[in-house]
Amino acid sequence: MLNFLNTIINGISLGSIYAIIALGYTMVYGIAKMLNFAHGDVIMVGGYLVYTGMISWGFNPLLAILFACIGCTMLGILTERVAYKPLRGASSNLAVLITAIGVSYFLQNISLLIFTANPKSFTSVITWEGISLADGQLKIQGITIVTIVAGIVVLLALQLFIKRTKAGQAMLAVSEDKGAATLMGIDVNKTISLTFAIGSGLAAIAGALLCSAYPVLTPYTGAMPGIKAFVAAVLGGIGSIPGAMLGGLLLGVAETLSKRYISTQLADAIVFAILIVMLLVRPAGLLGKKLQEKV
């Protein structure tokens, strides 16, 4: 029983990381109507930035995360400006998708060049041991707790931002109708840029948490979590913020449960099987709107 509980808690923690990544996917999709397949690699860049800050420059963990957030935010704005914006309004969505895959490889190879393929062993940003319950039978690590709390804080902050600020309302308007948003006086390009900035900043946080929980960092670290977060976003209903959160959590719990009780090797296959079943049963995702929007 305690074992099961422990697995669930770890699943929620992993799921919170997926959720934070999925939020970036889903926001960019909702507003720019594109799948940013390079999003996962921004996590990896975030991981390296935290690593560099902490190990090479001796920053304290918080400062290192802040540094990574700023770095990734700028990276997000830059890739959007250089790679995606020129293609906006292009006749084919495929062009943007292929460009995103190109950006993904570009980021991986740049990291390969700078940091080499040798795995870096990451030092956790959280030094807290965690808590011990039930006479030491149930140990919850500090990073696990911090990750869950971070997930909740990010979700609440984002909801508040979207509901309460003008920029947040502008995002909603742009996601529904760019032309009508322009007629309100909203600068659509700036709004898209802001969305990339927020998504990439969140990716840096996800990178720091991910590398702290699974402390091996290579240029390919972001690829798999990126794809799983994409699955989470689709599962929850792409474009929906609570959906991304729910999808991420479900995926994290499903993955840890499969690893614990079925098979470590099969866990990823199970995750993708869940996606396929979901797409068959409810193509719009758990919290997604019906797919009646204009194509």
Partner: protein, 235 residues
Amino acid sequence: MMLEVKDLEVNYGMINAIRGVSFHVEQGEIVALIGANGAGKTTILHTVSGLIPAAAGSISFEGTDVRKTPGNKLVSLGMAHVPEGRRVFAQMSVLQNLKLGAYTRKDKAEADETLEMIYTHFPRLKERRSQLAGTLSGGEQQMLAMGRALMSKPKLILMDEPSMGLSPLLVKEVFHIIEFCHEQGITILLVEQNARMALGIADRAYVLEVGSINMEGNAKELLESEEIKKAYLGG
């Protein structure tokens, strides 16, 4: 002069949709732009409000050349546009839609006053302020689209087929709202397929036929013209 468009040309790829159109709107006027489906009315309004680029010609708003001004910048200059098909933000509440209308306004207290004014004149919007705009009826959505435009405190409103798809009773109501906007001192450029109603309310009118203007003049005179009667008023 509120708005002056000269020799406007607009293309969609290889298609030449607007071919040298010139017209103007004086301060305080209601000017109607009528014409059959596909004549290019929406294209002209979209070009004036900066949603699509002009290939040639000039557009000046209160004497400033705005042909190259991005659409979102025109709002704070005093131009509002109630687009064809209303295009309210369906997933947002009525109040959120109205507030987005005031997106460019700096003074929150003044914007709140405008909101109160709109609530007074459109009590139905007030009743439904927390409802999602997508759940409103067609007439209510049109009202919301017009209220949203008023929220920017415009000098000029471009209206694209505000009566489209509405019952005769609601059409009347929509035209009352247009009159109300006009009484607030707002200049109006009205695009309509309902030529009778449009000419009835307008001071002057232009008749558009496949990308060019082929008639213009006093609205009441056009209403009496045999040619207009035959082509646009059903005999």
